[in-house]
Symmetry: C2
Subunit: 251 residues, 2 copies
């Protein structure tokens, strides 16, 4: 069933009003009519099954039939901080990271980040990433759209507060068999925890950055014994976290 | 350290001879000289640390210093069968799947595959995918290059033999909470097992295909509760398998 994320101010007790681009999509692209069912998603309350009651050029109103209890969200709140990368790597991270359940993305500039964003470029890039995150949320049937924050400095990342767990992906750990396994890290993460995980640029973190992470209380994470590209590392992390928390029943 | 995959016929007891494009890369691009160390990788025996002994226009000979025991390969042999997809989706699957440890890729045409390959196109596409797999193997420090097979039909896939486990990724399982968890499936997979996993096209498998899989003894796998795009599904599967088998020590 088609799904649309509707801003909080367009919801009432029994009905929801759809405006803007979604109106065109529902009436022209999908050619839906009065009586058709769609899922409307409230930014805080999640998805509701609704039925179209009225269609005009500017708006569509829908009756709320029932609130859905879908349970599509990772049981922990994960923020992926990803260094700027070449080409469309960040777009891939936001698209796939949204499918894999991330709650938030923070783009940041690392010492070795090849790509640079000036102020004007940063605003446009974040808008584009936010659009990708919305589309991926609809496609993957998420109940919430992950936020893409403005560009951060590494210093801002190190000083961030309010997280239960702060991790950084460290490629050199893949080369060491003796380092702490990812299972050891993730098995301590509990439902409701807030997790921040920082991934480095193409050339990895500088030694200085690794020292700063450790000094700021960040724990390094291994992601298997192979050397992953910068954009592959968050896929491994998020998939493993989902496996650990959402696919872990039985033996 | 730079890594090069060298065909079996170029190896002798104590030294290895490098020919073709790698000669240019080593002497011109990397500007390496006699005495430089590189890792040469034998297709069956894996990686060896070597030292350059002689450089000509056509070939480079290297002394074998020691065979390396790197342990970079997934302890199970995983074949990813991926349906043809739009654009460069298959290239992404082969690149990331190689980083994540797959042993083999089989492209195949599903009922709902939008993309079609004719005979001529198929040959070129497979060559291109094989090149991507080689590059990703070098980058991720694999000991072996995953093979990309010629295009298969679904019927050929169903009749394939020699696997301990045959799975298919089934998006509808994500919508059912009661279905068997991925952990239940993967915890039965043992070191040395051969695993085949089949992923569907953009629109998912047809009902007919699902019935055929079940009739042929394939087990369905869940990949978390969100609906993943066709190219994201193998990342989740391979990451979880690596997490289960390679990152599972401790608690």
């Amino acid at each position: 069933m088609q799904r649309y994320f509707i801003p909080a101010e367009h919801w009432n007790k029994d009905y929801v009003t759809i405006k803007g681009k979604d109106v065109h999509h529902i009436s022209r692209v999908m050619r839906m009519e009065i009586g058709s069912s769609i899922v409307c998603i409230h930014p805080h309350d999640g998805p509701a099954l609704t039925k179209i009651e009225n269609i005009t050029e500017e708006s569509i109103s829908c009756n709320i039939v029932e609130w859905l209890d879908e349970d599509r969200e990772l049981p922990v709140d994960v923020t992926v901080a990803q260094s700027l990368g070449k080409g469309d790597k960040l777009e891939l991270v936001v698209q796939k990271g949204t499918e894999l359940g991330a709650a938030r993305f923070i783009p940041y500039a690392a010492d070795r980040s090849v790509a640079k964003w000036d102020h004007k470029k940063a605003k446009k890039k974040v808008e584009r990433l936010q659009k990708i995150s919305k589309e991926a949320s609809e496609q993957s049937e998420r109940s919430f759209i992950p936020e893409v924050t403005p560009l951060h400095s590494l210093k801002e990342l190190m000083e961030i507060e309010g997280y239960d767990w702060c991790f950084f992906g460290y490629a050199d750990e893949a080369r060491q068999r003796s380092s702490t396994s990812l299972k050891t890290r993730l098995s301590k993460v509990k439902t409701g925890d807030k997790v921040l995980v920082v991934f480095g640029p193409e050339g990895g973190f500088s030694e200085n950055e690794v020292q700063q992470f450790r000094a700021s209380g960040f724990l390094s994470v291994r992601l298997g014994p192979r050397i992953l590209r910068m954009e592959t590392a968050p896929f491994y992390f998020l998939s493993s976290l989902s496996y650990q928390l959402e696919e872990n029943e039985g033996d």
